[in-house]
């Protein structure tokens, strides 16, 4: 086969595969703009011509979106702030100090990071129930912080290690104290790392479903994932208004997609960095 034909064929294949893969995302947005009556037709409508934002208006009018949004934002922000602070201190320790127990600590966080939520959530439920922290922001945030902090430490460690300690030392020779040198030299260089780790922590907390399902049984304290699940559940008895469900899903997905595009590169390299460098 001539090279040109081959290239064209591969190009066509690439575009077809891309379209198939993105179709569910497209379908969500498309359906979110179509009235339910149209979604119930025998032949699907593939383009949202004549569509509207009525579904979104109705989702807002339902009155449950804003409380769930508030809950999700609160939990995610607490997780991000606390997690960044803790992880930053720990990353500093493991990349700037050679101390006894360092390897053991790194080993421990790598292992903890792999533990599945399903392996602990019943115990976490019992603990939070015992403390009276079910359905509270604190209860779920503590678990999120603990499950996100190991990977955040790991990610930040790379960034801190990437900044040569010589820079700090040079500044100290020039008369800055250790703290000053750190705040003026290292910290600004670290900012991109903090942003990337912060977005990672945010996404984890924003998307989390399993722990929230167990720790937030009350509808009034639902986070967005639980709220969204409630949509298909609540309408289980009657026919589901798919237009509304898709509008709700779009509302949950859009901020995530924006943030994700932002942080994606860092996450991939953090997970497999050693292997890629090979």
């Amino acid at each position: 086969m001539p090279a040109r034909t081959r290239r064209t064929l591969l190009g066509v294949l690439g575009v077809v595969v891309a379209l198939i893969w993105v179709f569910p995302v497209y379908w969500m947005v498309n359906s979110s703009m179509l009235p339910n009556a149209q979604l119930q037709l025998l032949t699907p409508t593939f383009l949202p011509f004549g569509g509207s934002f009525d579904n979104f208006t109705q989702v807002f009018a339902g009155g449950t979106f804003l409380p769930a949004l508030g809950m999700s934002v609160t939990v995610a922000l607490i997780t991000v702030v606390v997690c960044l602070l803790f992880a930053f201190l720990a990353a500093l320790a493991i990349s700037r100090f050679r101390f006894r127990g360092r390897t053991a600590f790194v080993l421990a966080i790598l292992l903890v990071q792999m533990l599945p939520a399903e392996g602990l959530f019943i115990a976490q439920y019992k603990m939070m129930a015992g403390l009276g922290l079910l359905n509270t922001v604190i209860g779920v945030s503590v678990i999120y912080i603990a499950s996100v902090v190991p990977f955040t430490i790991w990610m930040l460690r790379g960034f801190v290690a990437g900044i040569p300690a010589d820079l700090e030392e040079a500044a100290m020779v020039d008369g800055l104290s250790r703290t000053q040198a750190f705040m003026r030299i290292t910290f600004p260089l670290l900012a991109p790392g903090l942003v990337a780790s912060g977005v990672y922590a945010f996404l984890q907390a924003w998307n989390e479903f399993t722990v929230a399902l167990v720790l937030l049984p009350d509808n009034a304290s639902a986070t967005l994932p639980l709220w969204l699940r409630g949509f298909i559940q609540a309408s289980a008895s009657k026919a589901i208004d798919w237009g509304q469900v898709m509008a709700a899903s779009t509302l949950v997905a859009v901020p995530v997609i924006i943030f994700f595009l932002f942080v994606q590169g860092r996450m991939t390299s953090g997970l497999v960095s050693g292997a890629v460098k090979g």
Partner: protein, 322 residues
């Protein structure tokens, strides 16, 4: 890298040997160690509270007997490994374990094959098509899991789902077919969803590995008459093998713990006992039947498998970055 035998939780301060010596160098080192551990304290405290305590509770509870009486506050009697013995002899537990392992391996295998093909495709096409592919993969990857699940249940909806419409149009009789009613097609749908979600990560990681393969080597091989397939098998795959190995391991670990996908598909009216995997089984034991002892025993079992599987990954990560 210093070889170290101190357990993570023992502050080096407590080590008698260090306290006895007075050499200034030692003292400086000790202060450094102390500072380092102080920096770790917040992380350790939160991990101990949110993971450590539940873990210990779980191990203890897995050796107790929970019944109706315990729900009204009666202390649970200690029964040793009886729960584990019960688990090992419970045929349903083996069904769930078998199902989980099978689902995990099949899903991971398909994800890897599709992911590798996708990475090769990204490498083979021109820039414009590559960007189109990457954007599409990123969008799929970025979808929050719960939103992805609502979309997929809509796609597979028995009344007006696009999948049934398409298959019917292709001449098959899928009019009103309910995919989630039969356990086998239930898992087929779950598999498609999990593969769809997981492939982007695999494809991007392996694509990153592929870009490290030097073009000169490939050109040299081509000049020596190696065919495309030979170059793939003889040069490209061996060079990206470390990435493939680690990504596959992660897939296996992650696919063993699918919970959200199964739970949300079950929400649509499937019979839970026929579609449970380990995660949903623990959930059902703990929240449905309040059998915390058995739920804990299964959880401990899942944790042990995960740690065993993770060991290689952790070792690999330590080698490069600690």
């Amino acid at each position: 890298m210093a070889i170290d035998t101190l357990p993570a939780t023992t502050p080096p301060r407590a080590s008698g040997q260090l306290q006895r010596t007075d050499a200034p160098a030692r003292r400086g080192r000790r202060r450094l160690t102390l500072t380092a551990w102080l920096l770790l304290v917040p992380s350790i405290v939160v991990l101990a509270a949110a993971m450590g305590y539940p873990l210990v509770w779980q191990i203890i509870t897995s050796m107790q007997s929970f019944g109706l009486a315990q729900q009204f506050g009666k202390p649970a009697p200690f029964v040793g490994l009886e729960n584990y013995a019960k688990l090992v002899t419970d045929p349903y537990m083996w069904t769930v374990v078998g199902r989980s392992v099978l689902f995990c391996l099949l899903t991971a295998a398909i994800t890897m094959v599709v992911g590798v093909l996708m990475a090769l495709l990204m490498k083979a096409v021109g820039r414009v098509v590559r960007v189109i592919l990457q954007v599409s993969m990123l969008l799929a990857w970025a979808m929050p899991i719960v939103a992805a699940m609502t979309v997929w249940t809509w796609l597979f909806d028995w009344r007006r789902g696009v999948v049934n419409w398409l298959l019917t149009r292709m001449g098959l009789d899928f009019e009103g077919h309910n995919w989630l009613a039969n356990p086998l097609s239930f898992f087929a749908v779950a598999l498609i969803i999990v593969v769809w979600m997981s492939v982007p990560f695999v494809a991007f990681s392996i694509f990153a590995g592929l870009t490290q393969v030097p073009d000169e080597v490939l050109e040299a091989a081509q000049m020596d008459g190696a065919s495309g397939w030979q170059r793939l098998r003889g040069i490209i795959l061996p060079m990206v093998r470390p990435v493939i190995a680690i990504v596959m391991l992660l897939q296996i670990i992650w696919d063993l713990r699918v919970f959200t996908q199964i739970k949300m598909l079950q929400d649509r009216g499937s019979i839970a006992s026929e579609t449970n995997l380990l995660g949903t089984y623990i959930y059902q034991l703990g929240t449905g039947s309040s059998d915390f002892a058995m739920a804990s025993a299964v959880s401990v079992f899942v944790l042990i498998i995960t740690i065993a599987l993770s060991w290689f990954y952790v070792r690999q990560m330590l080698k490069e970055g600690a």
